[in-house]
Symmetry: C2
Subunit: 206 residues, 2 copies
DNA sequence: CATCAATTGTTATTTTTTTCACATTGTCAG
DNA sequence: CTGACAATGTGAAAAAAATAACAATTGATG
């Protein structure tokens, strides 16, 4: 639908869907904005506005149809099906993330892993094949990968990112606490534990 | 100093400091707002405003004194020294995070780990002692722990959080993709990989 | 010692996001 | 069939954050 949504709205839509997925089998079930809001500590107005933005229209008496809601959020976030994701750097963190995502119910499919450690190349982690980073261009094209999760050592984060961007990656989830400079059009999201802890530390000062 | 800073500003301050720490030995060195901005893909105005908010005043010709900058950010974010942090749930992710933070240079000190797996209790992970979650109240008090990193299985996330809050924890970094409902005064930060990937996925649609 | 170029400090403006307020509407009880 | 209730849908207002604009300051230079 409309591709101009606020990032916060997109995040919340993702959470709505994940929460509602649990109820997806209840045919014809509805939910009120205030109920949904309560479950995620939001305001009903915010929920209604988010849903309005993606063109969902509820029933004035029964609320929003859960099935329709899940469907419409899917149309918006995932366009059709999910997207292909690569995991880059299969160390302690990389394996933990991989295990987590494989268990999670999501349209994000991890279809390849990259590393440079020869002992890992051509093996499978879970059921995900592991390739040498040098083959990224080829693999990324073949498997239509558009997103990378970056869990390589900090020293190589910048170089690895350059390589990934050359390969056609469009979005990066960066776990490496290293600042990455990406060109416009590339969507970067940073998970910086140190900064997050310091932020928490600041706001819990009395 | 002033405790009413925007969250985004606090995050950026943390990043400024981490970046500048590399230059801390250059006695008398200065840096311009546009230089600092360039290094982190921000605007110079934003940098200047952030620094203004914590009462840093630069030199109109030489820019900001790096040492003073690091010091003032420390005064603001860490008050005096750092803070004590506990890691809760020493699984794959927990160990990866622990290893990472121990290597990182930060005032956030991981001083305890909690789990319920008997084989882990009373051992040390790195040099961090591991306790049973039941002893959280005691340990949290004794070690003045105020922040917890939550890496337990999703099924127990809510119960574990309740336990931690009872023990006196004031801030939580939540890795469990489970929505936590915390009372006012508790600072919660969520790392939700699924939502982040879906957000990235949305914004790289052409 | 006056000029000039560059940078800061801060006010004003714009943009983004959230909250408020309330008219509108679908459904159900009577 | 007909209110009346309890929702939704959305314009308007407010709050938060980012950006722009520019006067004030500095110190190097001729
Ligand atoms: N920001 C966070 O929240 C957070 C938390 C934990 C770890 N980390 C970071 O995540 C990264 C990984 O941490 P880890 O504990 O898994 O480290 P690790 O050393 O266990 O794993 C790193 C992996 O990357 C591989 N690798 C090395 N160079 C590579 C390259 N050029 N291309 C592809 N793969 C390469 C290694 O072979 C290894 O498998 C580090 O940068 C660490 O700082 C970040
Ligand atoms: N959101 C993310 O980005 C992300 C990424 C990876 C994993 N995860 C989540 O992190 C959590 C941990 O993942 P993992 O791969 O390390 O799992 P894991 O099973 O390897 O580790 C879980 C650990 O928690 C311990 N534990 C179990 N119950 C506990 C309790 N009540 N109190 C304290 N400790 C307890 C277990 O003994 C184990 O050591 C999971 O919730 C997972 O979904 C989140």
């Amino acid at each position: 639908m409309n591709t101009k949504l606020p990032p916060r709205t997109v995040e919340r839509l993702s959470k709505y869907r994940r929460l509602l997925d649990k109820y997806k089998d209840l045919e014809g079930a509805h939910i009120y904005s205030h109920k949904l809001a309560g479950l995620l500590n939001l305001t009903p107005e915010q929920v209604r506005r988010d849903l309005m933005l993606i063109g969902i229209t509820g029933n004035h008496r029964r609320g929003y149809n859960i099935k329709e809601l899940i469907g419409m959020i899917g149309n918006t976030i995932d366009r059709h099906e999910g997207q292909q994701v690569a995991l880059v750097g299969i160390g302690n963190l990389g394996r933990a993330v991989l295990g987590f995502i494989r268990k999670a119910e999501t349209r994000m499919n991890i279809v390849a892993a990259f590393d440079i450690d020869r002992s890992k190349i051509n093996t499978h982690i879970g059921n995900v094949p592991c390739f040498h980073l040098h083959d990224a261009r080829q693999v990324v094209r073949d498997k239509s990968i558009r997103i990378a999760i970056l869990t390589v050592p900090p020293e190589v984060a910048v170089a690895t990112t350059a390589m990934l961007l050359q390969s056609g990656i469009r979005g990066i989830l960066n776990f490496t606490s290293v600042h990455l400079d990406v060109p416009p059009g590339i969507y970067l999201k940073d998970y910086d534990i140190i900064t997050s802890l310091e932020e928490i530390g600041f706001f819990i000062q009395e």
